[in-house]
């Protein structure tokens, strides 16, 4: 929540948006997520493309 600052700098206090899939759908920013789903998102590991079967 900020506007141009005096010395013509932009973006003070502006965060990055991080969009993730919550279940089947997306949620705009993660601050709307409930605590359990936030924890789940934090724990997610990436899946490798290698076939290790």
């Amino acid at each position: 929540m900020t506007v141009k600052s005096e010395n013509e700098k932009l973006g003070q206090g502006v965060g990055f948006e991080r969009i993730r899939r919550i279940t089947g759908y997306l949620v705009g920013t993660m601050d709307k997520w409930n605590d359990a789903k936030r924890a789940e998102e934090r724990d997610r590991v990436k899946h490798g493309l290698k076939n290790n079967a």
Binding site: V3, K9, G11, E17, A36, A53
Partner: protein, 760 residues
């Protein structure tokens, strides 16, 4: 000798044995186990017990009720004792509910949603706005009422204690979950929103605008997600109308320019209509040589131009009309997406929860729709933001769009490119055997479509001639806490299944109870869903009819959560860890599906098994189980239970194995399912790799899947992609500012960069 007792509010009153006897009699009568003389005998023993324990002190109400329970048991009135315990629990609940309700409303009113987990239970509702709070207060009140007055005591207990979860419980007495809206049928002849009548649309712009209105209107009649199963087929009709109009317009203008005429539009309209009649073709995107020949002949007959001139004119007009239609279609799709991300429903508390399905219409108009909706999704919103709604679902089908040479293969490829950037579309696979069995070429209503998080409706036990996706949806669903059953079974498989069977029966009964409430409603309760014939067969109802029979086209779904934790509790490992556990997992879920199928046949209704999305539930169940059982490794030691049949998110596994292991559960969970895999940002930039994952899903028989990858955006420079600590485009860290000149420089490098307005 007991002379007085202490009431709950602390007052001391005279002891009256008759009151105890009549309470006991009520329990005996409810269980049909005894009469007044039995009640007197039990009451005597209650008194004797109290005298032994309290002598001349005054017992309180709880002490007396404990004694009644014990003496009913001693006398062998087991069912009556149970009835009494339930009665007592209910009374306690009634007393506490008022206090809890007020406390909840207090929290909704005073606490910021960012620190109130309760207010973030559904991420789709903004609990900080006035209307959002009003909705939450209404919801809290409805829940308290429903639990007290509408649930059987055993269902209330199971719900309250976390054996089961009744979804959308605030809407228990009000409506059903979701519906696939057949827009082709809806638009024919126009429709009424309940707040005004809309004519049949006549251009792609109005088709798209009305599609958004249809979703919005239906969202007010149901509590779940709204979906369009035939977005491409439906919008294609609008494209055809726009093309025809553009064709007439372009032809008129070209002719007026060539011959220096004015006001020829009416003449040309006639000429085109005549040509359509004589050629039996219409002015449309598809190659229509006979029609064009007829137009050329008409032009030569009517005006002083040669055949060659007419031919040149027609080629040029066609080209321009195609271009204009394509541009209009893009704008319509862009408008549609913007609309669904900004339009309000439920008194402004949320945007409609919407889905659109497409991908299989191979007509030139349908293809134009699919390409442009994908391009609009790719472009994002005004500042390049990723669109949250609608959920896009691309229907994958061999022979239509899956393989090179298929008519829509190019669009499938485009969808992969877009999904790699924007997380949508998701993919539904019509070739999976459990979907293919319903598929009839040329009848898009037999193509499976998805709504909301994952809901799917296809089979129809109630009416086997109507096994279609259109105009149907889920009525309600309730989920079972699988890990708890497993923990309580203590490794005893037999006990686990016995308890699971009990729980399935309990949930089925509860769903039927809820159905009874829903069945008693009328068309006028759902002016759009039922009043406009959106729901299957609702157009055959009169104002007097209840909804019982038409609702039977819908599904009653039993869901579950935490298969992974349940397996770990029962056997020590989950299904990602060994093939043996995979077998056990499939046995459990197969058992549940069998139960649903049997119940369906018994009731001639659609009981289906759901892989529950569990957004709020993942935390609710495990918190209760941690309290009850403590921390059990691999079972209750995290903050959430694993979604449905998924391999736990924290477990290291390849894409290939995750898909291979989860696919067989899709076949079992006929109410809905989804699998996703997590890719890192680099993989996703490689569209070939992305497509190979989608193909892997198709080949293993996944029903519905999507690929997760981080999508970050820096609002200052508009960069969309993966952002670690530092934005790769402008180099700033989170919260830091950068010089305005730097932004100007970047704008030269990235002309499409949206202007940062400083308000985010």
């Amino acid at each position: 000798m007991i002379q007085s007792i202490i009431k709950r509010d602390g007052r001391v009153v005279l002891y009256d044995q008759n009151k105890i006897a009549s309470a006991i009699l009520r329990a005996l009568e409810a269980a049909r186990e005894g009469d007044a003389s039995d009640a007197a005998r039990v009451a005597n023993d209650v008194q004797r017990e109290l005298e032994g324990r309290f002598r001349d002190r005054a017992p309180n109400i709880e002490d007396i009720q404990d004694a009644v329970e014990r003496q009913l048991m001693n006398h062998g009135f087991i069912a009556s004792a149970k009835a009494y315990i339930l009665y007592r629990a209910n009374r306690t609940r009634a007393r506490e509910a008022n206090t809890t309700l007020m406390k909840n409303i207090d929290e909704i009113t005073k606490i910021d949603a960012r620190i109130s987990d309760m207010k973030r239970d559904n991420a789709n509702i903004d609990g900080n706005t006035a209307m959002g709070s009003m909705l939450q207060i209404g919801s809290a009140g409805a829940k308290a009422y429903n639990e007290m007055y509408l649930l059987r005591p055993e269902h209330a207990k199971a719900y309250r204690e976390g054996d089961i979860h009744i979804h959308d419980f605030d809407f228990y007495s009000l409506t059903t979950t979701c519906c696939q809206i057949d827009i082709q049928k809806l638009f024919k002849g126009g429709f009424s929103t309940g707040h005004g009548y809309l004519r049949e649309p006549n251009s792609i712009q109005s088709y798209a605008a009305l599609a958004a209105i249809a979703i919005q209107s239906n969202q007010n009649d149901q509590h779940g997600g709204q979906s369009i199963p035939n977005f491409d087929y439906g919008m294609a009709e609008g494209v055809a109308k726009t093309y025809r109009k553009a064709y007439i317009r372009q032809l008129t203008e070209a002719l007026e320019d060539l011959l220096n005429l004015e006001d020829e539009e009416a003449v040309i309209k006639d000429l085109v209509t005549t040509a359509e009649r004589s050629s039996a073709e219409t002015a449309r995107l598809e190659n229509t040589p006979a029609f064009e020949q007829a137009v050329a002949n008409g032009l030569v007959n009517r005006y002083q131009i040669t055949k060659q001139q007419a031919a040149v004119l027609i080629t040029r007009v066609r080209k321009r009309a195609v271009k204009k239609t394509d541009r209009d279609t893009y704008q319509a799709m862009e408008g549609f997406v913007h609309n669904l991300n900004t339009m309000h429903s439920r008194a402004g508390a949320q945007t409609p929860f919407s889905s659109i399905n497409y991908g299989t219409d191979t007509s030139p108009e349908g293809r134009m729709v699919i390409r442009n909706i994908l391009l609009a999704l790719d472009a994002g919103l005004g500042h390049g933001e990723t669109c949250i709604f609608p959920i896009h679902i691309f229907k994958v089908k061999e022979g239509v769009n899956y393989n090179e040479g298929d008519p829509n293969y190019d669009l499938f490829r485009l969808s992969c490119k877009v999904s790699a950037k924007r997380l949508f579309p998701n993919y539904t696979f019509l070739d999976a055997p459990f979907n293919l069995q319903y598929y009839v070429p040329g009848r898009p209503e037999t193509e499976v479509a998805t709504m909301g998080c994952r809901t799917r409706v296809m089979g129809n036990v109630f009416d086997p001639n109507r096994q279609i996706a259109y105009s149907r949806g889920n009525l309600s669903f309730t989920s079972i806490n699988l890990p708890r059953i497993a923990i309580e079974a203590g490794g005893d498989e037999k006990l686990f299944y016995a308890r699971l069977q009990e729980m399935l029966e309990l949930v089925a009964q509860q769903l039927l109870d809820r159905f009874e409430i829903q069945a008693d409603k009328h068309i006028y309760n759902y002016p759009f869903l039922m009043g406009q014939g959106v729901w299957l067969d609702s157009d055959k109802l009169t104002m007097k009819d209840d909804l019982r029979e038409v609702l039977k086209h819908g599904t009653l779904s039993i869901g579950f959560i935490g298969l992974a934790e349940a397996l770990t509790a029962l056997y020590g490992n989950h299904h990602g860890e060994s093939e043996e556990m995979q077998k056990k997992g499939l046995e459990i879920i197969g058992y549940m599906r069998d139960y649903c199928d049997k119940k369906s046949q018994e009731m001639k209704m659609n009981f289906t098994l759901l892989a529950t999305p569990a957004e709020g539930l993942s935390g609710r169940f495990i918190r209760m189980d941690q309290k009850r059982f403590g921390r059990i490794q691999g079972v209750t030691d995290r903050e959430y239970y694993t979604n449905s049949f998924h391999i736990p998110v924290w477990y290291d596994i390849s894409v290939y194995d995750k898909i291979r292991l989860e696919a067989p559960y899709h076949a079992l969970c006929n109410a809905g399912h989804i699998s996703y895999v997590e890719l890192d940002g680099d993989t996703v930039r490689n569209v070939e790799a992305f497509e190979s994952v989608v193909r892997c899903m198709h080949d293993f028989g996944i029903g519905y899947g999507s690929i997760n990858h981080p999508v970050d955006r820096d609002p200052v420079c508009g960069y969309v992609g993966v952002i670690g600590d530092v934005c790769p485009r402008c180099g700033r860290r989170e919260g830091e500012s950068i010089p305005a000149e730097r932004i100007e420089e970047l704008k030269k490098l990235y002309p499409e960069m949206p202007a940062f307005r400083g308000i985010q």
